[in-house]
Amino acid sequence: MQFIGKYDPLKNEKIQILDNQGNIINNNIEFDISDETLIEAYKIMNLSRKQDEFQNIVQRQGRLLSFLSSSGQEACEVAYAMSMEKGVDWLSPGYRNNAAWLASGIPVRNIMLYWTGNEFGGQSPEGINVLPPNIIIGSQYSQAAGLAFGEKYLNKKGVVLTTTGDGGMSEGEVYESMNFAQLHNLPVIFICENNKWAISTPYSKSTKSLNIAVKAIASGTPSLIVDGNDFLACYAVIQECLKFCREGNGPVFIEFDTYRLGAHSSSDNPDVYRPKDEFEKAKLDDPLTRMKNYLVEKGIWSKKKQEALDSEQFEFLKTEFEWAEKNKDYPVSDVFDYIYDQKPDFLVEQLAEAKTFYPDNENKFGGDK
């Protein structure tokens, strides 16, 4: 183990490989990552950033309800989600996890469908164990603990990853979950993407704790602080944590030190509460710039490739959104179909009544029919 038990959160020690220019500053860390994986990761990070930008535009046009942007957090989200083994590991996310959803294999169109108001978009495709977005924060941690209990009890090999922000770390359930996971020695990685803002409440008003990672110590869970805008550091740490869990060592906690570059949601204006100089300074740590510089320096990326990728991804996002927009409506029966395993009589009656008011939607998409 290079990290767990070696980097001490009580001393505020943070794991970092790249500086904010993309230069390697820590040659002592050993890990294995191919150029192909680096490029793949960067492409997903870029896609998520472009998707945020695109969705902001269509949201302003009134074509998208609302969404929670991952801009600024792409490095850590892609690092942990692409490291999951598909169909084996689980992700129990919050609501701000666009880059993680993409990296775990959720199609863009599903994510867009969700934000246009169709729950079918929240259902992960076959072979991908990702729960729908968790809107009340904190509970994804306890669901993750339960999922991990199942993995252990059923002798399966999966590790469960769950994530919240610095705001979510104020919820009591977060501690309850780590305590339970530790008591049962469960394979779960608790993640905090500390992006410094809980809507308009700054980190300084959420906690007086030395850092977030120390909050895990009380439950006996080993914890680490990682530069969350440094893809290499995030990737190296997540590999070790997955191995730690798979080998039956119980849970682990990771604080990714990052920054929310966007608004809380598309309905919110951070300029009202966020100090301008703080934001300008944070932009210098942008994980995309850092990764791009590193790849260019390594000789596997270029300005030309970037331009081609941007325009290809923009067209792709446009096409996917057009699909989501066309398929966002569903038949009235869909809102009754999934409440219970079998519709009780009262729902059969209520559906029959609803159908007399909404008779024309039966041919709409409405999920997997």
């Binding site: 729960l131 199942g150 009591g172 359930e173 309850e176 305590n179 999934y338």
Partner: protein, 329 residues
């Protein structure tokens, strides 16, 4: 046949379920080594091991959240909340998540969880040990709510709940845990969720009740009928609060023309409100008197010295029966 009280019926159902399904996991505060403060889980840890029946730290929100995760991962968690109102911290996950998981995932992740908890008053308890907040759960889409009153139903409904693919809350009247015994078949059987049962059949008045009030209602009916031999009363034990047995109640009211709903929960926005509203919608033309209710008052449940002020009693029920039978439009 075995003669069991309600708490033994719970214990036997859990034992049978754990024997039958390896996926059944039983947990909650003190349920493991001690077998629960009421002994509902007595002997289960010894028989099935600490992994399947365990004491959990006092973190009720986690209980339900973790149960949701377990259920999504193909287990059958049965959670005990030690007392209904001491488990309030679990409501976020019961109301905010448990009943919504299936819909949110469009059926990919059902959450077949059973939450069991003692409920109701008449037990001379401290504050927050006597609440009957079944309407809160019944009000929430996606959840089924059961309140059994007899050992036979307790065992059969608990097994049906564990078998169900939906989340089920079973509120067990604390007052009835050891109040009486009944012959109960051995082995596995289920009582269908959503079906009420006749305690008595009759022609002149329908009384719908459930839980601890079934006992007071029986006494009231027996007393009334002995003094009024020309009147027969149909007494129905609802057994399942949601989905409730509308068919049986409507049929009964059509026959008797009179309805009384009795429960210990507060009056306003309650199970009786729902039943009476439905009867008014669907059987209004058959009514010989306005439907009435005998319930707890809209107050914080008093401690022991004032407890009887709150609860429906045999006398209060008899008074309502009189009003209904003698009512003239």
């Amino acid at each position: 046949m075995k003669t069991l009280n309600n708490i033994k019926a719970v214990n036997e159902a859990l034992d049978i379920a754990m024997e039958k399904w390896n996926e059944v996991i039983v947990f909650g505060e003190d349920v493991g080594y001690e077998g629960g403060v009421f002994r509902a889980t007595e002997g289960l840890q010894k028989k099935y091991g600490e992994e399947r029946c365990f004491d959990a730290p006092i973190s009720e929100s986690l209980f339900i959240g973790a149960a949701i995760g377990m259920a999504m991962n193909k287990l059958k968690p049965v959670v005990e909340l030690q007392f209904l109102e001491l488990g309030m911290a679990s409501l976020q996950n019961i109301l905010g998540h448990m009943g919504r998981v299936r819909n949110r995932s469009r059926g990919k992740y059902p959450a077949p969880i059973v939450v069991r908890t003692p409920m109701g008053g008449g037990i001379r308890a401290l504050e927050l040990h006597s609440g009957a907040i079944e309407a809160v759960f019944a009000h929430t889409p996606g959840i089924k709510v059961i309140i059994p009153s007899t050992p036979y139903d307790t065992k059969g409904l608990l097994l049906a709940a564990i078998e169900s693919n939906d989340p089920v809350i079973i509120l067990e009247p604390t007052k009835l845990y050891r109040a009486f015994k009944q012959e109960v078949p051995e082995g596995y059987y289920t009582v269908p969720i959503g079906e009420a049962a006749y305690i008595f059949e009759g022609n002149d008045l329908t009384i719908v009740t459930y839980g601890s009030q079934t006992v007071d209602c029986q006494k009231a009916v027996e007393e009334y009928e002995s003094k009024n031999p020309n009147v027969t009363i149909e007494l129905i034990d609802l057994r399942t609060i949601k989905p409730w047995d509308k068919k049986m109640i409507i049929e009964s009211v059509k026959k008797t023309g009179r309805l009384l709903v009795v429960h210990e929960a507060v009056k306003s926005f309650s199970v009786s409100s729902e039943i009476i509203a439905t009867v008014n919608e669907e059987a209004f033309g058959y009514l010989k008197a306005p439907p009435m209710r005998c319930t707890g008052y809209d107050i914080v449940i008093p401690l022991e010295s004032g407890e009887t002020y709150h609860q429906p009693t045999k006398e209060k029920i008899l008074s309502k029966i009189n009003q209904l039978i003698e009512y003239e439009f």
